[in-house]
Subunit: 261 residues, 2 copies
DNA sequence: TTTTGTGAACTAGTTCACAGCT
DNA sequence: AGCTGTGAACTAGTTCACAAAA
């Protein structure tokens, strides 16, 4: 059901930003519960727009954007419409303006400070990973329990601390987000430490179902599940070989409450 | 025209298709088009069952399984029912029997041989990652274009070859699956090489939309999108603080055809 | 014109609730 | 009795198609 937003009541004022949010909440939303799928697509749109911007494009229609990147134009419009009226009829969207809006919606206009818990292969790779936007995300520290690793730094110079100092450093370094890269059996305990330290957003790489308070956002990236679904696809030569079967993107996922394993 | 960009998985029911798997397809399926969501949950169920098996449990009902691991019992039954009748009324499911069935469905009863293309931080971490079941997945080789890395091996002893030898090694080593861990701008070219070498299943870590033939299964794990959705959650203190908001799982995702960026 | 924004229609996915088997 | 397997009901997400704006 289309919440309130749809019933035309939404004269919440387009474009004007009310500061309801205390912290950094620039854009006013028309609807409350926006799907994770929509949010993920926003990231995709942002990436596409950046490419177009680099090409020097000033404006783009949902139609063109969709054709260029194999998206659905109605979906683009609908996704954006949840957050405001960013387009101009007869023209399309102003590329740089829309990029700015999406960055704002996603909270990418403020910098997030990250730590990685678990200095194994994956944790070290994440800490040194240069794939995400450096101005929105800054890697600050790593934590591990292995005495040999403590006091050292990664190749990129990220220091490694004992987990016992997590709360202290989260506080002093204003850490926002933690990536959890410990073995499955240690994941719940590590998550508890992370939550106790005051972090409310966790990117979990442990193949485990974790439980945390409802206000902590846990996004799990499960490599085993991903690989196993490839295994399934191989076992089934079927697939959509019949038609143009396309499938855009999709995502990872998130969960909130209780959860285990 | 629906064509391109769709979601979930392939196009809606159009042509009927295939026959069941020829190769290693032991279980007979009742339905053709099974959702990616269902497949991902199968992996979760398998993990849960393994835990129960380790605890010595012989049988388990969907009810018990759901309570223990915060799943939905009707969904468990429905997911399993797509593939056969594995339960016994009045009893539940035989744990080890069901594990075997799920492994078979997911193709985990045959070993898959993997390569990683891109020997950067992430690629090396993947090659050495010990998180996935060693008997279903075997890491065989890595590929890179950086002359300095060639001829060396990873900590775990995986050799690194030039990308020019990809087709040769895929063939001689019977490689099944490739993980793609190169920078976004090089991803499409690397995918083309992988496809040309005969691989039909790719785990893509590049934050790029890739295009390949329809019969090649590409599963993208996009760390940037994951992080950005956490950023969104932080920007919006809201969340489901209102209710017991639960959100089961969800997944990564997959795509098939053309795709860019 | 062109292109947005959006109700309505449609499709996919989840949960309910119960007939029927053990 | 206990529990599966499954149609039916419901909820979520996507796509259509068009009125209204520029």
């Amino acid at each position: 059901m289309y919440t309130r937003a749809v019933t035309g009541e939404g004269c919440a004022g387009l474009g004007n930003h009310r500061f309801m949010g205390n912290r950094t909440t620039p854009v006013q939303f028309k609807s409350d519960k926006i799907s994770e799928l929509t949010i993920n697509r926003l990231s995709v749109y942002l990436r596409c727009l950046t490419l177009l911007s680099d090409e020097g494009l000033q404006t783009v229609s949902s139609q063109t954007l969709a054709e260029r990147f194999n998206l659905n134009s109605a979906q683009i419009r609908k996704d954006l419409a949840y957050f405001g009226e960013f387009g101009v009829r007869g023209v399309g969207y102003y590329v740089d303006e829309l990029r700015k809006q999406i960055r704002s919606i996603l909270g990418l206009d403020t910098q997030h400070r990250l730590v990685v818990v678990g200095a194994g292969n994956l944790g070290l790779a994440l800490a040194n990973y240069d794939g995400f936007s450096a101005d929105a995300f800054r890697m600050v520290a790593m934590f591990d329990t292995d005495a040999e690793k403590l006091g050292t730094t990664t190749k990129a110079g990220i220091p490694i601390f004992p987990v016992s100092r997590l709360a202290e450093i989260v506080d002093s370094e204003a850490i926002d987000i933690a990536a959890l890269a410990v073995p499955a059996h240690a994941a719940q305990a590590a998550l508890d430490d992370i939550v106790a330290a005051g972090i409310r957003a966790v990117l979990n790489f442990a193949p485990a179902r974790l439980s945390g308070p409802p206000d902590v956002k846990i996004k799990t990236v499960d490599l085993s599940i991903s690989l196993e679904s490839l295994s399934y696809a191989l076992a089934r030569p079927a697939a959509g070989s019949d038609s143009v079967g396309e499938t855009p993107d999709t995502i990872v996922d998130e969960l909130r409450e209780h959860e285990t394993v």
